[in-house]
């Protein structure tokens, strides 16, 4: 394609190294002015790196960027902003204790000659933008008091306030409910009508189909294709992204649930700050089923987990496994009661990055025989056991038992953690966001392992923010909202709409007004 001023952004031959690792290998990108362009790729394919280069956060090791047909050198984000580029990062960069308005103008305050901020002028300008694109945002509220979806709008407003003509959205839907996603797509539509160019980074195929006209696919740092979205199916997009045939749907037999194995009855828990976070929550799991707990982040999932492993005090109610009460005992007791947990953030909760793979493999077993021999650790047994885990759960590289687990890739770390938990032979396996940050291949593997375990008659509690994962995998789905289960569905009657509605708090879907 020629360098042409009909294109808002053109990138040619962009390369980037991180140490010896080549994150990008001469990638091209052409984004037409006034269009929505998607960048599709697996985790770690280099999508975000490419966009961070465009936004001036990283310097490229090779290649040229053209804006409106002119070659430019984007040294840092300030330069990018001056060229009218705005970026909304996956992790928002907002000041929690500031109001929405304060956050929007932060770093770009209009001041009078004494250096006093002219709030009135700023407010007028922001309200103008809000009206033009139909965003419902309350400028007076503090960031910590508004939902994640709302925070995202604030981030978009921030970019527009700085005069962005090209807006980059990094995984914008990762944290949103389906309803919030629809709202976002509408805002994108309005931006497009106004002549703005939008670039969306994502690995979700559905949203590409809905939002974008063209799509650039990147695989392992290399440019694969630039396609017209309407000529492609979700399946063909996925195959281009991964590089081989994939199963988008999870293969599984119908569940044959047995007796109830795990039960929570009228649970009430206060958070560390003393706020009621779990309110009269009840649920029960049977042997041989996967129960998916859907919900937007921050509705009590974290506290439910902490109460379960006895890190939070249970005010009232019971938690029962095999008929035995375990609330307010100890983490050790919970684990000994045949519960295993795949924790949400493996780096923080699931493994010890500074220790070797072998030391991590025995993290929950080190006190038992044969690993513990009269107070001393039996390193031979540890190594033997680790080798077994590595082989059985396909952890790569295969000779990694003495490597620090920090140096394994995310997918292989997760395989080890999952293997470790499953080898405990639990009656209940709790998997929290088990596929977060993994690529498609690893996700497929994790799903298969969970279903195999279910077929062996174990109960699995799947807690995930990815609604698709819950819908695909679970036999039964519960929705948690504001610390309670507000609805339960069988897999066949659940869909994005009815589950999503409950996730957002039922019918009460009114937005705050300005």
């Amino acid at each position: 394609m020629e360098i042409n001023k009909d294109y808002a952004v053109q990138m040619r031959g962009i390369s980037k190294f991180f140490g010896n690792f080549q994150a990008l290998d001469s990638v091209d990108l052409d984004v037409k002015k006034g269009e929505t362009h998607a960048i599709l790729g697996e985790n770690g394919a280099g999508k975000s790196t490419l966009m961070n280069i465009l936004y001036g956060l990283y310097g490229a090791d090779g290649g040229t960027i053209y804006l409106n047909g002119e070659p430019v050198y984007i040294k840092n984000p300030s330069v990018a902003i001056s060229y009218g580029i705005g970026m909304v990062h996956q992790h928002f960069m907002l000041v929690e204790k500031f109001t929405v308005l304060q956050n929007i103008i932060l770093g770009n305050e209009t001041t009078d000659k004494f250096g006093i901020i002219n709030m009135r002028k700023a407010r007028k300008k922001v309200i103008e933008i809000i009206k033009r694109y139909g965003m419902n945002v309350d400028l007076k509220k503090k960031i910590r008091n508004i939902s994640v979806g709302m925070q995202q709008k604030v981030e978009i407003l921030k970019a527009l306030y700085r005069g962005a003509e090209i807006l980059i959205l990094d995984e914008p839907t990762a944290v949103l409910t389906p309803q919030e996603v629809d709202e976002l797509l509408e805002i994108i539509e309005n931006l497009k009508k106004d002549g703005k160019t939008v670039i969306i980074i994502t690995h979700k195929l559905k949203e590409i189909k809905k939002s974008s006209k063209e799509c650039t696919i990147i695989r392992k740092g290399k440019f694969v294709d630039c396609v017209n979205v309407k000529d492609e199916s979700e399946q063909s997009l996925a195959e281009k992204m991964v590089g081989h045939k994939v199963k988008l749907l999870v293969d599984k037999e119908k569940a044959t649930p047995g007796d109830v194995v795990f039960e929570i009855k009228d649970l009430n828990v206060k958070s560390h700050r003393g706020v009621d976070v779990i309110k009269n929550l009840s649920m029960s799991l049977k042997k041989g089923e996967i129960y998916g707990l859907a919900g937007v982040d921050g509705n009590g999932q974290k506290e439910l987990m902490e109460a379960l492993i006895c890190r939070l005090y249970v005010e009232s109610g019971k938690i029962l496994i095999n008929g035995k009460e375990i609330q307010n005992t100890s983490t050790r007791n919970v684990l000994d009661s045949k519960i295993s947990i795949i924790h949400e953030d493996r780096h923080r909760y699931g493994c010890i990055l500074g220790m070797s793979v072998a030391d991590n493999a025995i993290l929950e077993k080190y006190r038992e025989k044969p690993f513990n021999a009269n107070g001393f650790l039996n390193y031979d047994e540890r190594d033997k056991y680790t080798e077994k885990l590595i082989e059985k759960y396909d952890v790569r590289p295969s000779k990694c038992k003495y490597t620090k687990i920090r140096n394994l890739s995310g997918g292989n770390q997760q395989k080890l953690v999952i293997g470790r938990e499953i080898e405990n032979d639990p009656d209940l396996l709790i998997a929290i966001q088990p596929t977060r940050g993994l690529d498609v291949g690893a996700i497929e593997y994790v799903h298969k392992v969970l279903i195999d375990l279910r077929d062996k008659g174990k109960a699995i509690l799947l807690i995930s923010l990815e609604l698709d994962e819950i819908l695909d995998l679970s036999d039964r789905i519960g929705v948690i909202y504001d610390g309670s289960i507000v609805g339960e569905f069988d897999q066949k009657e659940a869909n994005e709409q009815n589950v999503g509605l409950l996730m957002a708090g039922g019918k009460n879907n009114d937005e705050e007004h300005i």
Binding site: N20, I341, M355
Partner: protein, 376 residues
């Protein structure tokens, strides 16, 4: 070729060595600026340590307490705790040992362990308080240990002045009963017979008669090895390391982090306590006295642990080096009139460069990468 060099440069030993070297360079520069001849100063320092057997022995003897306080700090480091309270634990240990050593007078076979264990016990209690307050109420260990340091200091001054212990016309107590001392052949070497025997053997005379010769250092080495075994070979040590590296993950794996905090501080306190007790029993002037300021046995342990990178075995070498530097610094002042504080600058620089030395592997990697790209 470059690969093997880079591996050597990246090893901890080499990094520390470079840091020590840089410490000497900076100290030389400062000596030069202040008008002293650096090479002459270095020669004086070298002689101060190596020219007589007595000097070497004194360096070793002086290193014993700081090796142990270094171990104390390093042990707590492994659990992610910063035991700045080693100083206070050291002081209460000397207090307890001194009281027990003064009040009782059993046969040495009972008296020596009794005196030492009472010091160890006092140190452990003092450390345990820090651990307890942290695990029960979440109070940061640095705050409590600084306060406990001062409590220990003033307690020492109070006890030193108590009528029942105070020796008139001194600033301290009576010396503890001889039966509690760990000095080598203390009575014999000052007897007629001992003196005449040693006179015929100048080297032995130098190292036994003229110093507080004892075997405490060997005990410190054994303890360092035991600490290493506990940390790296036992089940409990595994727990400590796990808690230190990632308390959240350890807790989730069923390890009781709060309990381990208390255990760690008890052990860490006991190690500092042992340092205090041995410093007392291994001295020919075994008294506690009014302390106008801290004597820095605990704080020096902090530097030792930092230089050793929290390695128990490393503490032995770091402790000896530290002790040698302090010892040499004294003669610097004595012989040349150069301020002995130059040694503090040197130690500070070494600790600074050891902390900084984590960037050496990064730099080495960069250079190797560049070389490889050039050749490719």
């Amino acid at each position: 070729m470059t690969r093997s060099i880079s591996r050597i440069l990246k090893s901890y030993f080499m990094r520390t060595f470079i840091a020590v070297l840089l410490g000497f360079v900076v100290a030389s520069a400062i000596l030069f600026i202040t008008g002293y001849n650096p090479s002459q100063c270095m020669a004086v320092m070298f002689n101060a340590v190596f020219s007589r057997p007595k000097f070497i022995v004194n360096v070793i003897l002086k290193s014993t307490p700081i090796i142990l306080t270094g171990l104390s700090v390093a042990f707590a480091f492994k659990m992610g705790l910063f035991n700045i309270g080693a100083e206070g634990q050291f002081i209460v240990s000397t207090i307890a040992s001194a009281i027990v050593g003064l009040v009782f007078n059993f046969h040495p076979i009972i008296q020596v362990p009794l005196v030492i264990m009472s010091g160890v016990f006092a140190g452990a209690i003092f450390g345990g308080i820090i651990g307890f307050l942290k695990s029960k109420f979440g109070i940061h260990e640095v705050i409590t240990s600084i306060m406990l340091n001062w409590i220990a200091l003033y307690l020492c001054n109070y006890i030193s002045n108590l009528a029942c212990f105070h020796k008139p016309e001194s600033d301290g107590t009576y010396p503890i009963n001889e039966s509690g001392l760990t000095l080598f052949m203390y009575k014999w070497k000052f007897s007629e017979e001992g003196r005449s025997f040693l006179k015929n053997n100048p080297v032995l005379n130098d190292i036994i008669l003229k110093t507080d010769f004892n075997f405490n250092f060997i005990l410190a080495v054994i303890i360092a090895i035991v600490v290493w075994v506990v940390i790296y070979k036992t089940r409990k040590g595994y727990e400590f390391r796990a808690c230190g590296l990632n308390p959240d993950a350890a807790q989730n794996a069923g390890i009781d982090v709060n309990k381990n905090i208390i255990y760690t501080m008890l052990i860490s306190g006991a190690l500092s306590g042992l340092a205090g007790a041995l410093a007392l029993t291994g001295s020919s002037n075994p008294v506690i006295h009014v302390l106008p300021v801290f004597e820095n046995y605990g704080f020096n342990g902090l530097s030792v642990a930092l230089i050793a990178g929290s390695s128990p075995i490393g503490c032995i070498f770091a402790g000896i080096m530290f002790s040698a530097l302090i010892y040499a610094g004294q003669s610097l002042q004595f012989k040349l009139g150069a301020p002995s504080e130059i040694v503090n600058i040197m130690i500070g620089t070494i600790v600074f460069f050891v902390a900084l030395s984590v960037i050496i592997p990064v730099i080495v990697d960069k250079i190797v990468e560049k070389e490889e790209r050039k050749s490719a």
